[in-house]
């Protein structure tokens, strides 16, 4: 038996995955993994950007019909470097730089999907998708239905969504609610690297239009990825939320960057004896109501957390669904939303900081709902 510093024990013949950041803390006695019959695998630290990059690389290699188009995706290596190295590897045919004409190139991407290719259409940010939103909704989302199943549209639209840092009002909007509103679309919003990798692969392999909402501030954040996740066929199913942290007192439901804030808030609250269950939606549409309901029925309390504006938003939808379903009877207090402030995003740092949900807002709301 191998004894690890944190008390874990490993019988011979197994595989252990050690998070990269803990590797150096090692074992109590010098490890001779070969004689102990253990395979020691270090989880590499992969940031969200690289997870997206690797996912696209693998899918481009796997299926020749997959290609990427958008502004600066090729020779610039991607405005946010998400497509770094892909043009060098795959060339002009499969990684296409477009002029600054969203409506035109989004339409071209959809048409290519009509004719049997599998485009990944990048919007430099989702704010610019408003120029092309007709193509996303009327040409992509609705066509399979209008054609009674004759014309599928296997396309992924992706790009950074929501607030960034200091980019002001026109570059900071969250589109989860807008696209989440429309039948015919799948809308996903990854938080960490595992989400990013698995959901992007799932999106590219899906035969339907997928709106893929990334987050610029998450691109550089590293996470451990286990061996399973690094497999070429690893996908995260679209439409399934993940419980990131188990708890008993209250349910926090969130997506994208705010999931991290919920986990941080949960850590703080745990010191006061409040155990939060944190649900990472992963997919905005279709919403995994079952996971949310099961959690609420366990904890009896609900707070949703999102970066977008409150009116007609993701949190509003979650609350409405909980009201209409079996979980309502288990609520001990009204469900509540933590959202971005209902204003265009200001520039000055102090103002911007107060325009987005902060950890203290989550803690405050939890305590209010729990009547603490």
């Amino acid at each position: 038996m191998l004894h690890c510093w944190d008390g874990a024990r490993f019988p011979p013949g197994g595989t252990i995955s050690i998070p990269a950041k803990e590797f150096n803390l090692g074992f109590i006695r010098p490890v001779n993994s070969v004689s102990h019959g253990l395979r020691v695998f270090t989880c590499p630290l992969v940031n969200v950007r690289d997870a997206l990059n690797q996912a696209m690389d693998e899918e481009l290699e796997r299926d020749e019909r997959v290609f990427l188009l958008g502004e600066e995706v090729a020779q610039y290596d991607g405005a946010y470097k998400v497509s770094r190295g892909l043009w060098k590897k795959y060339g002009d045919k499969r990684i296409i730089d477009t002029p600054i004409t969203e409506m035109g190139f989004a339409g071209i991407a959809v048409g290519a999907a009509f004719a049997g290719l599998r485009p990944i259409c990048e919007f430099m940010t989702w704010n610019f998708s408003m120029q092309a939103i007709d193509q996303v909704i009327n040409s992509a989302a609705k066509t399979y239905y209008m054609s009674a199943g004759a014309q599928p549209v296997p396309i992924v639209f992706r790009g950074p969504n929501g607030s960034s840092a200091g980019v002001a009002a026109q570059h900071s909007q969250c589109f989860a609610a807008w696209y989440g509103h429309c039948p015919g679309l799948k809308v996903v919003s990854p938080w960490n690297s595992e989400d990013a990798r698995g959901l992007l692969k799932a999106a590219i392999r899906d035969d339907n239009p997928v709106v893929f909402l990334e987050n610029e501030l998450m691109y550089g954040v590293p996470f451990d990825l286990s061996e399973d996740v690094l497999q070429k066929d690893f996908v995260v199913p679209i439409g399934k939320a993940k419980v990131e942290r188990r708890g008993t007192h209250i349910t926090l439901v969130s997506h994208s960057r705010c999931v991290g804030f919920c986990l941080d808030a949960a850590s703080v609250l745990a010191k006061e004896g409040v155990e939060c269950e944190v649900v990472n939606l992963r997919t905005i549409r279709p919403l995994d109501v079952d996971t949310i309901e099961a959690s609420v029925m366990k904890t009896g309390h609900l707070v949703t957390v999102e970066g977008g504006w409150p009116q007609y938003g993701v949190g509003a939808e979650i609350c409405a669904r909980v009201m209409e379903g079996p979980a309502f009877n288990y609520l001990d207090a009204p469900a509540v939303r933590v959202t971005g402030v209902d204003i265009p995003m200001p520039y000055a740092k102090i103002l911007e900081d107060h325009s987005v949900p902060q950890i203290k807002d989550i803690i405050f709301s939890v305590k209010k709902v729990l009547n603490m």
Binding site: M103, G107, S147, A148, Q151
Partner: protein, 374 residues
Amino acid sequence: TLLPSPLLIMVASSRSYADFTPEKVDLHRLEEGPPLTATLTREEGLKYYRTMQTIRRMELKADQLYKQKIIRGFCHLYDGQEACAVGIEGGITLSDHLITAYRAHGYTLTRGGTVREIMAELTGRRGGIAKGKGGSMHMYTKNFYGGNGIVGAQVPLGAGVALACKYLGNDQLCVSLYGDGAANQGQIFETYNMSSLWKLPIIFICENNQYGMGTSVERSSASTEYYKRGDYIPGLRVDGMDVLCVREATKFAADHCRSGKGPILMELQTYRYHGHSMSDPGVSYRTREEIQEVRSKSDPISMLKDRMLSNNMASIEELKEIDIAVRKEIEDAAQFATTDPEPPLDDLCSHIFANDQPFEVRGATPWTKLTSTS
């Protein structure tokens, strides 16, 4: 015995083909245009005649059914413009691709749809070409991408199809149609740019029927020379009422594309007899005299008929028999379209996603749980 056949000669025809000189072709950035003579065989002539007559009769029947409130919503009729759809198809093949806007019934037919399934779609029945889910503006066949309701959106879509043709290396091209009303759309200019940059095998075709809804070309466009609006894209303008002109121009354009030269733009000058749609009488912004003048002098079906008769390529009786056969086909189709049942309610939520597991769809109330299948 009613169908034209090369083996069945009703009249001793002195000629089985004829050479015609197209009236006029305007060129933009082209040294040469389509050939100045065109050959029409008897077989082709009879085929074009029958197809144009079928479109004409089908549209007129749709007019009737709409007035009886059996067809509802939007209905944009194509009568007057038949030579465009038929001529274009004569210049390409069914393995090429085509996309157009909402005045699409004629193209649905030339691209392989049947009158039955087109009419049943207009009446919203389960036998419709889109099972009643699409309606007048959303009909699809193989290599035909509709039927598109949003003005101008079909043009970048067509360029995307052309991009796929080039990507897959299949020597196919895409014909992307739009009207004079759409010709000022920004996304069309974005498409001109990308198609030219990437040398996509796309034929842009502007069907200029002189009016975008109720706005004449002079009132909508600072430049009405639509064949030049592609700027760096070579263009040509031909008489869209003459099926041979349209065919020859399309062949010329197709050769241009297939030789890898990139996009080309064609303007077809044509005319619609009906208003913009069935809710538009079509006389508040143009005169009845104008409509009558076009009918008497430039009707595409009459023009073809006169040509064939005066060149002894067919007899009056033969053409009459085609008319009778077409009428019967339309009547049968209308009968089907009015008696076929509406789609089943089970179909309400189907066809949201392709190749997916069935899933629950919320109905109008939280207690109404419906199912969607692919």
